[in-house]
């Protein structure tokens, strides 16, 4: 009995650990990762809808989150959102999420774009690449497991590294200031 429990927990550990440290070098064909089913808002006619929580595939994978950080800079996300503090685009490291903090919502925001300047990336990045960016963006406000968040950056100063930030409790909605509206 004890041995079975031990073996089982070892296997669970193994599975967890493998996923944590996996380096997924080959991009999956676009079709392999289905686009998530997205519910934009809990407001809808009829009874209150239960919004299914989606899981981001790379939230607890430090390497893939770091890949997301690289793409974030390569794809020039930092051009508008800067290092998460916002500027031209809204900040990403606070607790306010205009279009939701759920992984699926962020995915949709990146893939399909949003009115007011956020361009759609769904045709330019593979779903896998978008998912890595999703995890990075979530890590900026501490929504991913601490051990998988990026550590200190060699180039940025004055910002706490994501892994040392206290997780923000996301507020569901936020009224964008007039300047951000189309």
């Amino acid at each position: 009995m004890t041995r079975t429990v031990l073996c089982a927990s070892a296997l669970v550990l193994l599975a967890l650990a493998c996923e944590r440290e996996d380096r997924d070098f080959h991009s999956d064909p676009a079709a392999a990762t289905p686009k998530p089913n997205i519910v934009m808002s809990s407001l809808q006619p009829g009874p209150v809808a239960v919004i299914p929580k989606t899981e981001a595939p790379y939230d607890d994978n430090a390497w893939m989150t770091a890949e997301g950080m690289r793409l974030y800079h390569q794809m020039n996300c930092s051009g508008c959102h800067f290092e998460g503090g916002g500027g031209i685009g809204p900040p990403l490291m606070d607790d306010e999420w205009i279009y939701g903090s759920d992984p699926a919502n962020i995915y949709a925001t990146i893939a399909e774009g949003r009115p007011g300047g956020m361009p759609p990336w769904g045709t330019r990045m593979t779903p896998q690449q978008i998912w890595t960016v999703v995890s990075y963006v979530r890590s900026l406000s501490g929504l991913t497991p601490r051990g998988a968040r990026p550590g200190r950056s060699d180039h940025m100063s004055g910002n706490l590294a994501p892994q040392n930030r206290t997780p923000e409790k996301p507020k569901p909605t936020f009224t964008p200031p007039a300047s951000w509206r189309p």
Binding site: L13, L14, A17, C18, R20, E21, D22, R23, F25, A62, W63, T65, A66, R146, G147, A148, P150, G151, R152, S153, D154, H155, M156, S157, L160, A161, Q163, N164
Partner: protein, 652 residues
Amino acid sequence: MSAALAPIPLETETITRERDALQRTWASEPGLLGWLREVNHVSIGKRYVITAFVFLLLGGLEAGVMRLQLSRPENRILNPDSYNQFFTVHGSTMMFLFAVPVMLGMGIWLVPMMIGTRNVSFPRLNAFGYYTYLFGGIVLYGAFLFNTGPDAGWFAYPPLSTAFTPGKRTDFWAQMITFTEIAALAASITLIATIFKQRAPGMTLNRIPLFVWSILVISFMVLFAMPTVAVASIFLALDRLISTHFFNAAEGGDPLLWQHMFWFFGHPEVYIIFIPGLGFVSHIVATFTRRPVFGYPMMVLSLVATAFMGFALWVHHMFATPLPQLGQSFFTAASTVIAIPTGVQIFCWIATIAAGRPRYATPFLFVLGFFIVFTIGGLTGVMVASVPFDLQVHDTYFVVAHFHYVLIGGALFPLLGAIYYWFPKFSGRLMSETLGKWHFWLLLIGVNVTFFPMHLLGYMGMPRRVYTYLPETGWGPLNSLASAGAGIIVVAMLIFAWNVFSSWRNGDVAGPNPWGADTLEWATESPPAPYNFAHIPVVQSPAPLWEASGTMPVVTGMRTDVREVLISSVMDAHPCGKHEHPGPSIWPFLTSVCVALYFVPVIFTPWGAVLGTVAVLAGAAGWGLPHATSSKPLPAPGSMYKDEPLTPEAAR
């Protein structure tokens, strides 16, 4: 105080009675709990050596897989991610989990027997060191199994090891370093105190066996080298975990600070590994040429000089970094000069062989192999001391060839010779000479076939730490040859493993002194009783067993009902006190677990430091508080203290 007596022969009956009493006092306890409570240096030393050989096997397997991967261009056995883990774990294993622990372990096992005492000075600290080392190895290999093996190189240069390796891989590496450093420090403090204070009466400084000298020298080196790498790896872990900036150039840190600290440890580390090898060679040469090694004072001075100079040449690992050129000349000169003491020792051994009557037993063959392989490694070592030449071969396969020649020649060959030589003391049986000779010749051929072509690969521009190479580079044939050589090494080591296994079970039974050697460990039974010597020998010459004529002068009057050892003065080993040793205890093991409770959780959360501090303090409390000590309490507190200072004599 007692003085030397006129020699009184001891009655056989007395000897038997005292032996029985000592056996009761010093015996190991049975069962798993007894195993964990063990504090006897013979057991702990054996554990060190066996564990280290297990890690040698694992490290060797990793090397074998890497050689397979490199055997032809664009091979796909390992992808770069696994290759980087393999070479990092291979290097870390060989350095931290095999070479240093095996040498310290041989010291822990042999030194008390060689200097004629019953146990090391701090038996519990010694046991604690072993468990800490073991946990360090388990942490590294546990992580490796779970795809969390470190992948930033065994040298872990930042910023690759900080901001560019996300995940927990490098953190596990840094913690493994800290574990093994604590273990090495515990072992070296123990060995220094043992060698300074527990030598048999009459073993003055110039009668200390050369292996004991080499262990003393490396123990001092450990005291300064290991804190350096421990501090550096803690800085590294802090950079990774709580975002400090020690190595972050953008915030005033400096990646080169790591390199300075790492090599200030890393270079002496090489000497820590091969100086005991030189000690082994001295004993094997003396025994198998039947005469003491020529030039004892020069040998000792050379060891000490090597130790001092070993700390003055770390920058020759950093010639390619942007450092001022003026300083580099100093390090070239230092790296050159260090060849002299090593050369002197080699000349002294050759002179000893010339003056003696060589016997070609396996241990001696390994010493001959040491001369061949180590000389080549030493010569390429002088080559890389030169800045312009080093800049061409640095970080290429030439350097891989160089340090494998040095470490295999300077440490592994003597170590294997030592295993053949001391195996009777280890197990009571001799190892097979036939298999031993096969092992030796195959290993000698294998090492040269594997590593000699690597010199040429370095000249042809092949850098180290590459997981593959393109066909048009032309590196294929020599790499295939090197991989074939690795196959020969594997066969040789399999023969060795089989030899150890079969000889342990049914080798020829060896008497106390099968080789006719001269040092004190051969005066006890093979394997020795848990108390080593029923009567501590009195030493009257540098080669006590060769110059004794039928009688063996010994110390009498030691207690047999407690674990008592004789304390002697540092310089002339005059008996000046006794020390009662603690018996078996579970606390070294538990404290070691507490240390693990510090270092492993802290990888995942800063609160681990708080948890760990509490755990370690609790472990220390359990270890130190009265229930754990067997020391007798003072007679009665109160009146006795009032009048005048109490001396132990008065208390009796």
